[in-house]
Structure formats: C-alpha cells, structure tokens
C-alpha cells in the first residue's frame, strides 16, 4: 500500500461525524426534539395513559457520500465540508419525511383537521388549537407550540399573525380558546391523583 496517515485521518473522521450530527440537529425541522438512544431491541411500543398502544419498528435511514477520484487532487477542507453538507441535507429530508409519515399514521382522526387545500388562515389556526391538548408552564404561560408542514411557511405564519392583529374579534376568540385550554390543562393536572 501507499503511505497513509490513519491516526490523523481518524481525527478528521471524528470531526466530520461531529459536524454532521450537529448540523443535522441545527437544520432539521425536528432538531429541537429530544433524541433518545435505544441500546437494544428492534422496535418501540408506547402504552398511553388511556391504555391505547402503538408499536413501531426501527427503520434504517441512510444516504451516500460520493467523491470522484479526480476531485481528490483539488480537495480542500471547505470542499470536503460542502460534500458532507449535501449528504446532511438528504439525511434531514429523509428523517423529516419519516417523522411526518409516522405522525400522520399515528395521530387519531379526532385530532386531525382538513385545511381543504386552502392556505393557512387564522381560522385554521383556531380550529387546530381547539383540537390540540395544550400544555402550560407553572406560571400559566402556554408551552411553545411547534408547527411543521408545507402550510407553515414563514410568510404564511406572518400573514396569520397580521390577520389576528387586524381583527379584534379573532384575537378575542383566540384568548377565549387559550383560557379554555388553560382550564382544561388545570383540570388535567388536578386530576393526577392516587385515590382510594
């Protein structure tokens, strides 16, 4: 073989691996979700408080990192990072699609709404929140709600915010809805009891 420098190359591999993990979390629409490592087993099962169960098997997601032999002569660290960025984008997209598919299949009908092909509006947001179980912080403020999906573009969200600001009636309906959600949350929390 030709001379190689495996020890130092291992350090670069470590750098690229860390870079990929961090970047995936940074740009993924689901990057803020807590990651849990399963060290054994082939599937996951959730038994909810209403005794309903869901089971899902592990899925292997992979992408390819490609480099042509004639590219290596001019390769720089920046170019190597760019190669990894391409792969990262593909992986993030696969992960996001996978999560969306799983959520769509797992969320019960009763918690779904149909936007009927229309755009995001204040009415859609109100309808959506009405169906959601909203959690609150001990100080009474609602816990952050994350939106995901083609409907929720930054422009569409800004437009909806404007719609609420321009329409006091919509604002009032939203406040009433959140007040009701807060009461529901309080009732749920007060319900955490070991009785008998």
């Amino acid at each position: 073989m030709l001379p190689d420098f495996p020890e130092t190359k291992r350090l670069f591999s470590r750098f690229f691996q860390t870079y990929m993990r961090r970047k995936i979390r940074e740009i993924s629409p689901f990057g803020m979700i807590q990651v849990r490592h399963y060290h054994e087993g082939r599937a996951m099962k959730v038994i909810r408080d209403d005794q309903s169960e869901s089971q899902s098997v592990m899925q292997h997601l992979s992408t390819q990192l490609e480099i042509k032999l004639d590219e290596i002569g001019d390769l720089t660290l920046d170019k190597a990072i760019q190669k990894h960025d391409v792969m990262i984008l593909e992986m993030v997209s696969k992960q996001a699609n996978f999560i969306r598919e799983r959520m769509s299949s797992e969320i019960p009908e009763g918690q779904s709404i149909d936007a009927k092909g229309g755009k995001l509006t204040a009415e859609v947001i109100l309808e959506m929140k009405a169906k959601m179980q909203v959690a609150f912080n001990p100080d009474g403020s609602p816990q952050e709600i994350f939106f995901d999906g083609p409907l929720f573009t930054p422009d569409a969200i800004a437009a909806v915010e404007q719609e609420f600001q321009d329409n006091p009636e919509l604002q009032k309906r939203h406040e009433d809805l959140m007040a009701r959600k807060r009461e529901e949350w309080r009732a749920r929390e007060a319900d955490r009891k070991l009785v008998g």
């Binding site: 961090r22 807590q34 990651v35 849990r36 408080d49 929390e189 009891k193 070991l194």
Partner: protein, 549 residues
C-alpha cells in the same frame, strides 16, 4: 495462535486465577466440585475436593509455579499440606469423616525429578500407614495444557473477529472496568446462542466458555481487579443460564454445576474485595486528583458489592466469619452527599438499602427511597438542568459528557436527552407501595404520571441474561393514567414479577442481584419487584407469613 494464547496464560497465571478454571475443567469432565477453598488457615491443604464421575472423592492441592519448576525446597513447604490432604478426614458438610480416595498435587509449572522422588517416598510412607499405593499423584503444566486445549480451545469460535476480541481483552492494562461489550460476542459465539445446540454439545461448550473466561480475564486477574473478575464470571453464569433456557435444556443437569463453580469463585472474589478493604484501606484508587469524579460512584458500587457479599454469606454461611464485621464497618449508615450520578446507580442504592434494613431495621430506609424518587422525578421534569442519564450510560460516559471540554474527548451523550423519562422510577415507587407508604405515594403520584417509564421487554426470557438482548426485544414506554386507585397500583406492584427473566436466574436471587448491579439496565420494574420480594426484609417476612398461612 490460540494455542499460544492458552500457553501464555497458563505460564503466567497465579494459583488463585487458574484455580477457578481448573474447577471448571473438572466440572467439564463430569466431576462435582464439593469444596473450593478460599486461602484460609482452615483449609488444611485441601484447595479443591471433587467427586469423580465414578463416585470417588478426590482432593487437589494447587500450587502456582507459572513458567517454573517446583523445587525440593518449595515442596518442603507443602509436604505437610499434602500429607494432610491424603490422610485427614474431611469436615465438609455431607462428607464429614471421609478421607479422599485420591489426591493430586496440581501445578501450572513442572515438577523436578527430586520432587518426584520425594512424592514416591511420601506415598511409600502412606502405604505403611494403610493407605493405597500411589495415593498422591501429580497434574502438571502438560496435563493442564492438554485439558485447556481439549475442553476449551477446541470449541472456541474461530472467526477473526472473535480472535481480535480475545486479543483486545488480553491487551487491556487490567485496571479498567471489564469491557462486557467485547466479551459478549465471545460468550455468545462459544455458547452458540444464535442456533440450537443439543445437550451434550452445550455441556462441552459451557466448559469451553469457562476456559475462555479465565483466559480473557488474564490482564485483569494479574492486576487483582476483583470487580472485573466478578463481572466476567457473572456474565459467564447468566449466559450459561440463558443458553440452557434458550435450548430448552434441563439447567440442573446441563449447566448448574458450572454456574455453581463460577458462583463459588465470585463469592471468593467478593471476599477478596472485603479483605483488601479490611485494615482501614480507603476507597481511593489511582490518581487522587481525578477522584472528584469517581470516588462517590466507586463508593456506591463497593457498598453494593459488600452488601451482596453480606446477604449472600448470611444466607449460605460465612466462609470467612471475620469478614462480617469488616463489611459492617465498610458500609456506612448514611450515603455520601451527591451520590446520584445517573439512573445506573439505583440498583446499588437499593442493594444498600436492603442490606441496611437487615443490619439496622428502621422505617427511615423506605423514607430515603421516597426522597430519592422525589429528587429523580424533579430532576427529570425540570427544564434547563442536566438530566440524570439512563442506566445504559456508565459513570465514564457521564463524566466524559460533563467534562468533555477540558478532557478534549467526544461527548458520548451528545444530542441525547433524558428529560421526562425514567427507567427506574417504577421500581422505586414499587418499594414505597410495598412498604405501604400510601401518603408518600399520593404525594409523588402527580410527577410520576408526568414521566414516560421506559423498559425493555424481551420476547424470550433467555435474552434477559445477556449484555444486550439483540433484536428479540421491544423498548416499551409506559405512561400511567392520571388518576389511579391505590388498590389498583398495589395490584400492579404485587403481580407476578420477573416472569420475563430466565427461571434459573429467578431461582438464584443472589446471582440476580449481582447481575443487576453489574448491568443496571436490567434492573427493570419487573426485576426490582422480584428482588424486593427476595431481599427487602418487610417483603420477605410478608412472603414467609403467606407461606406459613
């Protein structure tokens, strides 16, 4: 190459470390080991007593002469012991008053011509006193090597990956935590856990795995790393149990003798930890300036090991009665501050509590469990804090994660979150429910229902005994209903426990307890319920009154 590994091992193994392997090889040849001494003044030269397949009582006096020849002067030192071995009646329960039919001087070295002549003279004098001729025989390096090859090496996996793993183990310094991850495939492949094995083959494979365990431990035994040895022999025992259960074989016929021999060795090793700590030795090990990260976790581990040793010896008799007071002096009345470094410490804590309940019964022990459960749940539900790592994370993972910036290492827990989930809270709550601390449970219930309770559920019980279950298991997340009846919770806590664990492991609660202390991720809700019933004094007495009724 593997033969050379065995030779190297035999040529540098101390008497203490090859004795365990020797007993396993006897077991593999159909002997039943009835006595395996710990080097005490009471041993009278009888290191090992075994019953041969044809019913003869055989005594063995072991000497460690690695890579050397037993000289006449060394023989002089043991002549008295050999004579006692051949002539004195045994005091072993079940064999009282009996004199061994055959005796062997065993050495992992050679015996000089002069020593052979002295043994002949000794035999002649025994004949004059009415003993049969050739009463004392010898087993030397050549025989041990042949046994190791026939009983061990012949069935070792021959894949390069396995060979590489064995070499990796031999290349360890020996002062590390035993690398179970590397040893696991070696045991799995030797015991053929991926296929069905008939009983005669499995019996041979068990002996082979035992020889491998002894060889794999070489670096650790040389450093007298007792905990590493305890870990490896515990793995050997649970893997043998799993292999018998997987193949649907009768454990008492095919695996029990080997497990009992391993168990004897483990008990002796616990005694050696105790011995090392007698005389006021502190729990500090290695570079003291890094102990800020490791001292308390090590202390908890040692307290748990000593608690196991105490409960084991109380149940089966103290082989070194003087150790009882030593253990009681080592294990403190109160735990040090800030000892909860992760969920992996909880099996140590529960073992400590169950020991304390026996030594100094008091209702405060259950109150401490309640306090710890409350602390863990608050930690898990709080935002912006470092959440306790899961029991799959070792103390080294946690320390590297906490100090990665100054250590310049990878973060083993990078990106992983432990918020709002727990593997241990169900088990801790079960202890409180069994203690009938209803008010405390009611107080803790709201936070308990806010957590996801994690566990691994195996499809076949035999997988529970392994370091990793493989694909035959499902990770289960349980979210409890917000409102529950106390009686319903009591029923859940009291329902049949450890049904998902191998039957032979359930039949040996001490081994089970040791196993969950070594592999904390096996201290599942089900396992803790079972162990609580076996070791918690209140549960034990409740159980015995039920039995009496």
């Amino acid at each position: 190459m593997l033969e050379r590994l065995i030779e190297n091992w035999l040529d540098s193994a101390s008497e203490r470390s090859y004795q365990r392997c020797f007993c396993q090889m006897l077991t593999g040849q159909g002997f039943r080991v009835v006595h395996n001494t710990k080097h005490t003044p009471q041993e009278f030269g009888k290191d090992v007593i075994a019953v041969s397949p044809d019913g003869k009582l055989v005594g063995y006096q072991l000497k460690g002469n690695p890579g050397a020849t037993l000289t006449p002067s060394q023989f002089d030192e043991i002549r008295g012991q050999l004579e006692q071995l051949g002539t004195l009646a045994l005091g072993i329960p079940g064999y009282e008053g009996k004199v061994p039919d055959e005796c062997y001087l065993v050495t992992n070295g050679e015996i000089s011509e002069l020593v052979s002549q002295q043994i002949q003279l000794l035999n002649a004098s025994l004949v004059q006193r009415g003993h049969p001729p050739e009463k004392i025989k010898t087993i030397t390096r050549g025989t041990l090597l042949a046994w190791s090859k026939d009983l061990g090496l012949a069935l070792w996996p021959s894949e390069m990956e396995d060979f590489g793993n064995l070499v990796k183990l031999l290349n360890y310094q020996g002062d590390e935590i035993f690398p179970s991850k590397i040893f696991d495939p070696l045991l799995q492949h030797t015991l053929r856990l991926h296929e069905t094995v008939p009983a005669p083959e499995l019996r041979r494979r068990i002996t082979s795995a035992a020889v491998m365990t002894a060889v794999a431990l070489h670096s650790f035994s040389r450093r007298r790393n007792h905990f590493a040895e305890i870990s490896a022999w515990t793995m050997f025992a649970t893997y043998v149990i799993s292999a018998c259960e997987k193949n649907g074989l009768d454990f008492s016929r095919d695996g029990q003798e080997s497990v009992l021999t391993a168990r004897d060795g483990i008990c002796e090793l616990l005694g050696q930890v105790c011995e090392e700590l007698s005389g006021g030795r502190t729990l500090v090990e290695g570079n003291p300036f890094s102990e800020f990260a490791f001292y308390r976790p090590r202390a908890l581990l040692i307290y748990a090991l000593m608690a196991v040793y105490w409960m084991w010896s109380e149940a089966e008799g103290w082989k070194r009665p003087e150790h009882k007071a030593v253990v009681e002096a080592i294990v403190p009345e109160d735990l040090p501050k800030r000892w909860v470094w992760g969920e992996a410490v909880i099996p140590h804590f529960l073992t400590y509590v169950w020991y304390r309940k026996r030594v100094a019964p008091s209702p405060t022990h259950d109150e401490v469990i309640g306090r710890i459960l409350a602390e863990i749940m608050v930690n898990k539900l709080q935002e912006g804090v470092e959440h306790l790592a899961s029991p799959y994370c070792t103390i080294e993972d946690v320390v590297r994660h906490q100090y990665q910036n100054i250590l310049g290492c990878d973060d083993p827990l990078e990106g992983e979150g432990f918020e709002r989930m727990s593997y241990v809270c169900e088990g801790l709550l079960a202890c409180l429910v069994r203690a009938n601390l209803k008010q405390k449970c009611q107080e803790l219930w709201p936070n308990f229902t806010r957590l996801s309770h994690e566990s691994i559920s195996t499809e076949a019980a035999w997988r529970f005994g392994l370091y990793r279950t493989g694909d035959g298991a499902i990770n289960a997340t349980q979210i409890y209903p917000r409102t529950m009846q106390w009686a319903e919770l009591q029923a859940i806590v009291n329902e049949d426990a450890a049904a998902d664990c191998p039957a032979a492991l359930r039949a040996d609660p001490i081994l089970f307890l040791l196993f969950v202390n070594i592999f904390p991720f096996r201290a599942s809700f089900s396992a803790v319920k079972f162990l609580h019933r076996s070791f918690d004094l209140s549960s034990c007495s409740e159980e015995s009154s039920k039995t009496a009724a």
